[in-house]
Symmetry: C2
Subunit: 184 residues, 2 copies
């Protein structure tokens, strides 16, 4: 069975839950994956780092908790410090170049996610949706079209255009990444 | 270990995922529960009924999938038809009186959720958040205050006042419910 365990992590307010819901919906509703999307709260979840998990598989997902991540997306240093041990050695880390200084992992893609959101969309708020575009392009797990459909049902209508442009800007960033474990 | 398995179910567009995220955050971040919030997508999830699950416990949640529900909230007939078999015999069903005609379960609370949203808030769109207020009052699992905090980080600022009023309107509806398994 093909199975991918994905974690989006950052600080509260960076919108990793919304982004994960959209990713799971794009994959599960529009591309036929089995998908489970989860967030957990508990003493270990308090204190800054916020995370949301997505598991995609080509068959039923019996155990819906991430064990070893194939992909960790880190939008803050604290998130990387906390969750990097959960990433497979052959997995991929995608990090924001502004908020993450250090990510000691052999396969790390460092992208100007928040900077591009600021520069191209005027607000860092769009970093989470922009990041989805990059994930899609780098991993090939979902199409840009499916993400656009999922976004349209999850964001307020007046921001749909900006969010769509955020997806496209992220996709472009992803297109600049030469090699990664998913394409290998 | 105390553990409560909760499912919010309706049709796409009724906002059960957002409501579940808010419920889990209220319980997990502001009230010290261990909480897991999940949505699943797969062939069985297609075709109308939309659902989101929340598990609350007073200790770590090792298996994060709902097995037998303590509480099923149904905002559509299709959702009730599909998920009622998952509700414990001694569990509680809360249903919308407008959208659910039939709910053959011994402990069913029927409330004018969508109607109250229309009448008091001007839009049915607020039914999901209003429902959270009713759940809180009926079950005692989270306080109105914690829900307000969680809502404030999850809805656009310009709608915060309406959403807060939705929570309060739901709480009032819940206050009219005389007996339920949670208070017994």
């Amino acid at each position: 069975m093909k199975k991918f365990e994905i974690r989006l992590a950052g600080t509260g307010g960076q919108g990793v839950i919304l982004a994960s819901v959209i990713l799971a919906e794009a994959a599960g509703v529009y591309e036929g994956w089995y998908a489970v999307q989860t967030q957990s709260y508990g003493p270990e979840a308090r204190g800054g780092a916020s995370r949301a998990d997505v598991i995609l598989a080509d068959g039923p997902i019996l155990y819906p908790k991430c064990r070893k991540l194939d992909l960790l997306v880190g939008l803050s240093q604290q998130a990387i410090d906390k969750y990097l041990p959960d990433l497979k050695h052959r997995g991929l880390a995608i990090i924001d170049e502004f908020y993450v200084r250090e990510c000691p992992h052999p396969q790390t893609v460092c992208l100007p996610l928040s900077r591009t959101a600021r520069e191209k969309l005027g607000r860092e708020l769009f970093t989470n949706i922009l990041t989805l575009g990059a994930i899609a392009k780098i991993t090939g797990l979902v199409s840009l079209e499916s993400l656009k459909k999922a976004v349209s049902s999850r964001v307020p209508k007046q921001y749909l255009d900006l969010n769509t442009r955020a997806l496209e800007a992220g996709w472009e960033l992803g297109a600049g990444v030469k090699s990664n474990p998913f394409s290998a």
